[in-house]
């Protein structure tokens, strides 16, 4: 191709980017705008407008049947205080926070353990990395289907495995107290992305530090506590924040798991024990056509996520200074 020939040229033009031939500037502007035009049109139609429209709808009583009427902040107040109209709003928040508090730490610990183990070995490390990554690329619809079958109270693999140790079988997805732990276990099963990012973090720890610690007589536990954990702090922090943001929005899996049997009757599991915030929102938007209320819910979530993100930046700044 032409590139090897071209590669010889820079010597002639010592200031790349500075020398513009006259007249090329305005044409450049046009070309630049043309190239970003598709993306910008997309952005305006499918991102900017929907975001503003959602904000507007959240102050209306829009229900698809009639034109939206402005109702001010009524949706927000009703969601927070009217437990006749929205009996499960606070329940959905509790469920989501519970899930976040269990699933995120469980995922991070599993991912770190997997990364540490893989980082220790040489032979077969690619194979193990691949096998532990498989659950990540699996479609939510398939994950839900597979795990419903694994958790099957009578014929599922989970209960027969526990039976080997004399642990009595449970009806995992139909016992309110067990729903969140069961969902969290699936989340930890899918921890592959965090594992890969931890592995990259571990590779970033210089060998010299570890070797120096070994010479100084530090055992594996001490090395883990004094070197690995502190050096991985930025990674852990990043994974924690992104993990929390993702967990607050968990939807696909709970939708799939709790929509079987009755077709359209998604209820969010036994006694709403699996009714996550976004599932609750989805039901109001697409089952009960309460678009105004659903949009208000989505902005409460948005606000919450913004606060978490802002706190993260603050924390990072403190760390840096």
């Amino acid at each position: 191709m032409a590139s090897p020939v071209l590669a010889d040229k820079p010597a002639v033009t010592p200031l790349p980017g500075r020398r513009r031939r006259p007249g090329s500037g305005r044409r450049d502007h046009v070309i630049g705008w043309l190239l970003i035009a598709p993306a910008v049109i997309y952005f305006v139609i499918f991102l900017l407008y929907p975001a503003l429209a959602a904000l507007y709808y959240s102050f209306t009583d829009w229900n698809l049947r009639s034109a939206p009427n402005w109702v001010g902040p009524a949706n927000y107040f009703d969601l927070l205080f009217d437990d006749v109209r929205y009996p499960h709003f606070w329940k959905s928040i509790r469920v989501t926070l519970q899930y976040t508090l269990i699933a995120v730490p469980l995922t991070l610990v599993t991912a770190l353990a997997q990364a540490l183990l893989i980082n220790t070995i040489r032979r077969g490390s690619n194979l193990f990395r691949l096998l532990l990554f498989l659950p990540v690329v699996t479609a939510e619809a398939a994950v839900g289907a597979i795990w419903r079958w694994l958790y099957d109270p009578q014929y599922g693999l989970v209960n027969s495995f526990l039976g080997l140790f004399g642990i009595p079988g449970q009806n995992w997805l139909n016992t309110p107290e067990l729903v969140i732990p069961a969902l969290s276990f699936i989340a930890a099963w899918q921890c592959g992305i965090s594992m890969i990012i931890y592995l990259a973090g571990l590779k970033g720890i210089p060998d010299s530090i570890r070797e120096a610690a070994i010479i100084d007589g530090a055992g594996p536990v001490q090395r883990f506590r004094r070197i690995v954990v502190p050096m991985l702090r930025p990674t852990t922090f990043y994974l924690l924040v992104t993990g929390v943001i993702a967990a607050l929005q968990v939807f696909g899996l709970v939708y799939v798991i709790f929509s079987g049997g009755g077709g359209r009757s998604v209820t969010g599991g036994p006694e709403q024990s699996g009714l996550t915030y976004v599932l609750h929102l989805y039901l109001f938007a697409f089952r009960y056509d309460a678009m105004g209320a659903a949009c208000a819910m989505s902005f409460i979530l948005f606000l919450f996520i913004m606060i978490i993100t802002a706190l993260q930046f603050r924390f990072v700044k403190q760390e840096a200074s």
């Binding site: 002639v12 970003i36 900017l48 429209a53 193990f128 479609a139 619809a141 989505s298």
Partner: protein
């Protein structure tokens, strides 16, 4: 580490084998169930192999796959998913790469401010956009259609960001030299930028294929016509309507899972690098 010796690594390998087993056994269980005769599925002692429940002999069957492909509508859904990905993934890559190139390389007034606005748009949660996006899709006359699946997903700010980062890291001298030789911006894009960016283009393509092949939420809200269902949506429907027949559901799940696993096996190194890169960047 050499001094550690092989014996000390034994517990590490044992732990890894156990973790890998937890990771993989659900897939083996899925496959085993999908190849079992209906009468062999519901047994007291579960089996990870398709065995006859009475004689214990090897007796796999393909009838579950035949059923879900033909009667269950998963054959049509599989083709729909293939079509959607064939149009959406390259289309999205083109839109994103063109925009990223301009953002990285072509200076024009307001460019960087615009880019910041785009990045800010990334913060809005998908669920917030979902309801109005449906409305926009209806207004454009694309609700419940193939284009309604494709167009609302045809660009990604995150991908533009990643491609821009990569384009900016390419040496500017090549381009400058090409310009002096009289090459236009588009020639430079196709002849220089694209060939030099194959690794990052591959990562973006693969991850976007996996994402859209697996996506459930958008098809769920935008489609009514079962003829148009994508594979995850059809699988979800099958899981509801055949909820007592695990062998059908697992055959359907296998159809959804296997193509992605094949892609993962082929491109595993690229995918892992891509995740480490994007993960640490953000």
């Amino acid at each position: 580490m050499r001094t550690a010796g092989k014996a000390r690594l034994a517990p590490v390998y044992i732990a890894l084998v156990l973790l890998a087993a937890i990771s993989v056994i659900p897939f083996l269980w899925m496959l085993a169930t999908s190849f079992k005769h209906g009468s062999d599925v519901y047994t007291k002692v579960p089996s990870l192999l398709p065995l006859d429940r009475k004689t214990g002999e090897w007796s796999p069957t393909l009838e579950n796959y035949e059923h879900v492909l033909q009667v269950g509508g998963l054959g049509q859904a599989f083709l729909n998913s293939v079509w959607v990905c064939l149009i959406l993934v390259p289309g999205k890559l083109l839109v994103d790469a063109l925009a990223a190139y301009a953002f990285a390389r072509i200076p024009f007034p307001g460019r960087d401010k615009l880019f910041v606005v785009l990045l800010a748009g990334m913060m809005v949660p998908t669920i917030t956009l979902l309801v109005p996006r449906i409305h926009v899709t209806q207004a454009l006359g694309m609700f419940d259609s193939g284009w309604g699946l494709i167009l609302p997903n045809v660009a990604s700010v995150l991908d533009i960001f990643l491609l821009r980062q990569f384009f900016m890291s390419l040496p500017g001298e090549l381009e400058e030299a090409a310009r002096i030789d009289g090459a236009g911006r588009m020639q430079i894009f196709w002849r220089i930028i694209i060939p030099l960016s194959k690794p990052v283009l591959a990562v973006v393509t693969i991850t976007s294929f996996i994402f859209h092949w697996n996506d459930l939420v958008w098809p769920l809200v935008v489609l009514n016509d079962p003829e148009l269902y994508t594979l995850p949506l059809a699988l979800q429907q099958l899981a509801s309507s055949e909820s007592g027949r695990a062998y059908y559901i697992m055959a359907g799940a296998a159809l959804a899972v296997i193509p992605v696993i094949v892609v993962l096996l082929i491109f595993q190194r690229r995918i892992m690098q891509g995740i480490a890169f994007t993960g640490l960047k953000s």
